[in-house]
């Protein structure tokens, strides 16, 4: 199945929800999905991402809620397949660190560093940004219902 250009970004965003464990609103809230998809295309070409997107769209997903709560067996198979290991790792690192780690290694932008999901994942904020306020470090850590 040929993916239409207009759908491609949306599929990438949905796949990103599954891979990162962050909701679609958090993904969209970064404002970075378009830039990240371009980064992937520029570094890897479009063939591999398109193949991955195609296989991903064949996995039945009922609603957005399901994306965030469960990883079905088919997703596990996809993630662990030798063919996609590299690109999947790169997508996760891109979202978590705002950084492309490949032949070249670079942070996409100041914004991408600050929007890195790694900081949210550990219950903190990016070092040097999104400051939580005076004295907050003395409070008990937030607990997240995930």
């Amino acid at each position: 199945m040929k993916i239409r250009a207009s759908e491609r970004l949306q599929i990438f965003e949905q796949l990103s929800v599954v891979l990162t464990g962050f909701s679609i609103s958090e993904i969209l809230g970064t404002g970075l999905s378009k830039v990240y998809l371009e980064t992937i295309d520029n570094n890897l070409g479009k063939a591999i991402p398109d193949k991955l997107f195609n296989e991903f769209t064949n996995i039945p997903i009922k609603n957005e809620e399901e994306l965030t709560v469960s990883e079905s067996d088919s997703i596990e198979v996809l993630v662990e397949s030798a063919e996609y290991q590299s690109i999947i790792k790169q997508i996760i690192l891109l979202w978590y660190l705002g950084q492309w780690i490949g032949k070249e290694n670079y942070i996409i932008s100041s914004q991408s560093y600050l929007e890195g999901f790694v900081w949210k994942a550990i219950g903190a904020h990016p070092m040097g940004g999104k400051q939580p306020g005076f004295g907050t470090w003395g409070f008990p850590p937030l607990t997240f219902s995930q």
């Binding site: 891979l19 900081w119 904020h125 003395g138």
Partner: protein, 608 residues
Amino acid sequence: MSEQKKYDVVIVGAGITGAIVANQLAEKGHKVLILEAGVKKSFNFEDYRAYLHHYYKNTIKIPNSPYPQNSNAPQPLVTDVEGIKDGIQQFNKDGYFKQFGPAPFQSTYTRAKGGTTLHWLGTCLRMLPSDFKEKDLYNSGKNWPINYYDLMPYYRMAEQEIGVSADVDEQGFLGIEFEEGYVYPMNKIPQSYLDKKLTEWTDGAQFTYENKTYNYSVVSTPQGRNSSPNPNYNNGEGYQPVGAVGNPDLGQRCEGNSACVPICPVQAKYNALKTLKKAVDKGVVIKEQCVASEILYDKKTGEVNGVRYKKYENFEDLTSGKECNYTEEVITAERYVLAAHAVENAKLMLASGFQNKNIGQNLMDHPVLLTWGWAKEKIGAFRGPGSTSGIPSLRDGLFRRERSAFRIEIGNWGWNWPTGAPTTELQEGVSKHLFGKKLRKYMLDTVQKEFRLGFLIEQQALANNRVSIDNRYRDALGNYRPIINYNITDHEKEGMLAAKQFSKQFFKTIGGEDKTEYDPDKGGFIEYKGEELWWQGAGHLAGTHIMGTDKSNSVVDKYQRCHEHKNLFLVGCGNMPTMGTSNPTLTIAALSFWAAENIDKDLNSLKK
């Protein structure tokens, strides 16, 4: 002769010590010029923000990562110290320092307007009274020609200038005294949740070592970062926190950006730009992109009669290998001050042919033994200033006859320093094929329990640990690159051994899990008496032109004036004959106020 000179004082270096001397002398009506080697920067906040964006975009987030390399005034990087190969420490041959080991010198500094206070942590501990007379008390190390009580009024000035936050009634340990009624400018920075839990978990417990017992008391650290002002400061006058230079409404309080090293985004943490701006407003002139290359002096009298410097227009990345264009000029004044940093001061004097044999010797640092582990529950790592508390009980004792004392710093940023967390954990998680919610849970569970201890080991001043120069090693402007010979002794290794034992016991006491594991191939790894040890640099480079009683044992006298060059004063960590166990910036700031007072008196006697 004085009529022809445009300036009373020329200062080399626009870091904290140069800024304080300049500001104090300008206050007294003297004409002051500062030569700064770093790239020209305005006091506009946007210039500072550029550093921040450079930090965000740098993939390697080391202390100098916000401050671009500059071939005309290169700076050392922690990454210049490479691994150990076949038992030999390796160094980046293109790094600024030319290191001959045998141990790696792992500390760095920043060559930019504002100096290394741009990336300091902000710790503002006073030295202990015993640190000033170690030779007398412990037959180890050296004595200072001044004592704690001589320095007390200047500590007060330094605490005002930097804007130190602390509660005075917590700070009078191990002999530290304050004038009656003294309070710090601002209330203490709130202690981290980690600090509070460690206090709770160590309550009543003791550490026994060498048949002595020590308490674990976790004490809030005085810090040069803005907190709530203390209304009782200065006999009830209070204190107004100083915000960001060029954006003074910003940075009135620490906001918990968790990036003090390498850059506070809002300048709630003091940096020397704040003092420099005040100095410039009083008429001090800063000549930027001017690298001092030689101190000119009368070979008979020793009197300094000028500073030669190289002024450059453009700068290239350090590694470009491109030649840089510059013009040479000489500036003269009545009095001269070298405030260019311990290594640069020594290098400049050696390059000028100074004869005092102590110049460059006694290079010191605080080798920092790092240990890390998990607390028994989530404490919320990566929040707040890098460190808000320490454990001071092992900073002094008769054991200093035999081994180094140390200060224990509690780190709030998980294992960021020793292992590169949280990136390391992320890569581990991803390589285990974790994704989605499982990856998030893995990250939260591993990182939220993390913390590390840093043991700042006191290092003794030794002649063989030194900065020197050699014609073969020069930078793009033709100035010398510092050559470093450095080692640590059994005295320090015994201190590290004690620190390691403390750490093991500490993790047991708090019911945590010691996860310290050293990589034998990493710079700073050693094995001593069957124990694996690993240390890093603290950035506390000191001792290269120590103060003392005469030229046989020192470079400067107690007034911070060169024994052999009466119109030349030196300031900074280079003057320290012992390191003690406190981070040195507050002490050198205090010494700079003292030096400025002496220079003022000296200039006034001239003008009479």
